[in-house]
Symmetry: C2
Subunit: 536 residues, 2 copies
């Protein structure tokens, strides 16, 4: 109730001039003039994007492409004159990369299909030919129905859906009305923590074991998007959790055709081929870090970050070369102006984001705070991100207070429209002043919303102010996110230049403010929303 009252008051306050809170300090507008000049007139954001996407390509964690990107990004930071440029390793697992692949229908007629190997599944060792069976399986409870029917078959595991009627524009920008509708805080819901489900292997692993037992040749899933788009996302990178069955994602139109033909007497059969590589010579992945050293308060730092890794279906352009090159450009802009901020400004290019925010979690765990073990041998042996939120209390590390604010960019190529303040009303009030110079650039919405699924999340879990910018969605969700067309073409130069200007300015303002940005209290174990629900 207290929170709701607070929020209601804040929602009003944010549409009015805010009374200057203790921590506020007016942005240095003369410095921002320099940032605007550098960022709009001398930008290198698209040159860097072209290298990262066209030249290096998709950057699966621990693949050769990602190793190349790690080295290139460090060199770029050094070129720009940053200090303490470094690769900060964490354990991830093996890399995986595609050499080539193909899929064809051979019966009832010859037809090339659009397909991509599923990440971390093994290659087919040449062309394999087999009839298909449509055997939808999405939980282990589905296995029994298909036992004894899969031997020698290519198994189609998805229940085909109806397809889409795309009645909304694929590409759009946020209107004033959209932005006004985005300011509401999403109040957290807490359930009883139940660690039982953590003991189960995940479905992909259990499916693989079942398919091996049954003697399936390969499995195929349907793309979740229409229009011939592919994704190829998958798991199985941990050295103790590996796949043995080749897997393919097939375009929705091609998959549905197969599923329909399988219901006739056509007896569809496929030829599948995938040649892939596993990379086990180094199972550590690297976050790339680089600094502009602080002066009077150099023990504290502000940080901007974006994940440099991607999936492999295309070149990882809007997810997330976009954010990566904006971070690099913010660094370039500030270095080119020779700023000497009070606090250190750190730039982070995270790794292993796509598989569960591994890089940013590793950073949090190493430098900011860890969490107590569960005291259960099996559970405490699980990967860190599976149990993280269930472990209490939080144990702050020595550096917990040093990170004053973190700003993340991971929503594609769209320009910055403001920031999500994650329920931190005190920080929201301060940031409203920081964003004021960018009102005419369309970037002054301070929302109390939380946002998820990217690299500020684990900072929030330990009470460090980590925020994600609000961006215009463009066609990120509609057709680009993780898809086979996420290439340089779909980046928007004007938007990325604007984002870099704002990121550089906010970093500089945060680094120079008299007071550190207000924090939320250190999280402690929450009370479940319904204390009477079943749980342990």
């Amino acid at each position: 109730m207290r929170l709701a009252a607070l929020l209601s008051a804040t929602a009003i306050a944010l549409t009015l001039p805010l009374a200057a809170p203790a921590a506020a300090q007016a942005p240095d507008l003369q410095a921002i003039n320099g940032i605007i000049d550098q960022g709009f007139n001398h930008s290198e954001v698209m040159q860097n994007a072209a290298w990262l996407t066209d030249r290096i390509g998709g950057r699966m964690t621990n693949s050769p492409q990602m190793r190349e990107a790690e080295a290139w990004a460090q060199q770029r930071f050094r070129d720009y004159g940053l200090t303490n440029v470094r690769a900060d390793p964490f354990e991830f697992g093996r890399g995986w990369s595609i050499v080539r692949s193909s899929a064809r229908m051979t019966t009832p007629r010859p037809l090339d299909l659009r397909a991509i190997p599923i990440a971390w599944t093994p290659g087919t060792n040449g062309v394999v030919s087999a009839p298909i069976v449509v055997a939808p399986m999405s939980t282990a409870g589905d296995f029994a129905r298909w036992r004894g029917q899969l031997s020698g078959k290519i198994v189609l595991i998805t229940t085909p859906n109806e397809g889409s009627e795309p009645t909304e524009p694929a590409f759009r920008r946020l209107t004033d009305e959209d932005l006004a509708g985005r300011t509401a805080y999403n109040q957290p819901t807490h359930s009883h923590s139940n660690t039982d489900r953590l003991r189960e292997a995940d479905f992909a692993s259990r499916l693989d074991a079942f398919l091996q037992e049954e003697g399936a040749v390969a499995f195929v899933r349907m793309s979740q998007r229409d229009g011939g788009l592919l994704h190829g996302t998958g798991s199985g990178y941990r050295m103790d959790d590996q796949r043995r069955t080749p897997g393919f994602e097939i375009a929705a139109e091609d998959y549905r055709r197969l599923a329909r033909l399988a219901r006739t007497d056509a007896a569809p059969a496929l030829e599948l081929m995938s040649e892939v590589r596993f990379h086990e010579e180094d199972i550590n992945a690297n976050n790339i870090l680089a600094d502009i050293p602080g002066t009077s308060r150099s023990g504290e730092y502000v940080m901007a970050g974006a994940h440099l890794d991607s999936w492999a279906a295309s070149d990882g352009a809007v997810d997330n070369a976009a954010g990566s090159v904006v971070v690099m450009e913010a660094a370039r802009i500030l270095r080119s102006l020779g700023v000497r901020p009070k606090r250190t400004i750190r730039f982070a290019l995270w790794n292993g984001e796509e598989q569960g925010l591994w890089g940013s979690l590793a950073y949090v765990d190493k430098y900011l705070a860890t969490r107590a073990p569960l005291g259960d041998e099996q559970l405490d042996a699980l990967p860190n991100n599976r149990t993280w939120r269930a472990r209490w209390p939080i144990q702050p590390r020595a550096g917990h207070g040093d990170l004053v604010a973190y700003f993340n960019m991971d929503n594609g190529s769209g320009r910055i429209r403001g920031i999500n303040a994650e329920g931190n009303v005190a920080a929201a009030a301060v940031m409203a002043d920081w964003f004021k110079p960018f009102e005419s650039l369309g970037a002054s919405t301070i929302s109390l919303r939380t946002s998820g699924s990217t690299d500020h999340v684990y900072m929030q879990t330990v009470g460090v102010p980590g925020f994600q910018f609000i961006q215009d969605p463009l066609d990120y969700g509609a057709r680009l996110h993780h898809t086979s067309i996420d290439s340089y073409d779909h980046l928007r130069a004007d938007d990325l230049r604007q984002a870099a200007v704002i990121m550089a300015a906010i970093l500089l303002t945060a680094a120079n403010s008299d007071e550190p940005l207000p924090r939320m209290p250190l999280p402690t174990r929450p009370n479940p929303t319904d204390p009477f629900a079943a749980g342990n």
Copy 2:
């Protein structure tokens, strides 16, 4: 001036109840009840569509798939009890079909590309590997610039464009406002006829010759649509006009990446493979015709048609299995009701439409009217459709007056919203009555518009009333027309059932009306719009 005044009056008249003209006759509403019952409750439209698309697949004229479709459609008409079911041959050229193909970038990094062989280009005879050169050529005037630079190269001939921001919905239906805006006649513009350009071989043929002289390995063009969609349309089916250079269309995103890399030191190289078949054992293509015989006026007939052929990038579902199965379903509905119309009702599935309306032109030329030769040996040896409009006068054949009305469907899967009356105000007035029972099905717009690029066009050129229905566009133009996702998934059962009901009803009404539908005067050589412009 006289025409404009007439049209203006008509545009008003069409929004008001029309005075019944001489030829009008109220539709037989009891018969239409039967049609509605059959068409909405006992439809076979989707079963037929599934066979034509999933089972048979893309139907390139004179390919084995199209031969199969020709045989299947005849059998289906026979199953439905039609009479005089026949394949009506015309000379076309050789067939072409894809067995398999692939395209990969090998330098600077390995990457599978989305590609399709261009129709009627030869296969690569195994995998060919070569560096690329970006050499934009769209007219023969461009050849000089690239002479001497293409030997041993894969030649990218398209100037890459900027890509799209799809800010409009891909899928849409016509609003009342849209429909109101579609009623205006598009007044014809006539230029001086200039037959000089007919003497030139077309660009595809000249490009092929140039690439052969230069020793190019293959050529590549860019898809005209974003989003990884492919088309693969091409020419070169005539026995005297064949291609010798393998050609590929590559997805826009993949093509643009190549073009950008070619401007760096990356020296991109490709591996291309296409295995295709030419089919020369029979160079005739077949229109499929089937009748419901007339009674008291059986010498006259009304006809509905759609083209059965398609391109090969997918299964030719919305272009134009949709129209084909609606024509077949209209036949089924009318036969199942045992109608005995005054005039014969004919159903036509055209062939060779995609290469220039060959099938319907052959029908016109054979049964309705021909045109005088130009009296120039070279020009008169050209394919019929290249010179047709330049030849005067029209010479009606004995059957010219027998075809009372022709109704075409070739705009995808969208429901019928009315009809384009092609400037025939007398027929428009009659058809307004015919469509009245379908007002609540959204199908009562009578537009004076002309429509082009499909099989009623050549009937219009000889003064026979040939009309195309107005249909909801859905995502036909935005993403399906000729593309790699034109498959069964994107057909809409409700829409196709509605279309079949309306087609059947309009055919029956036209077949039973007391007077034949009013005609335009027999076309004679038009006066050029600007009599002072240069011309011969």
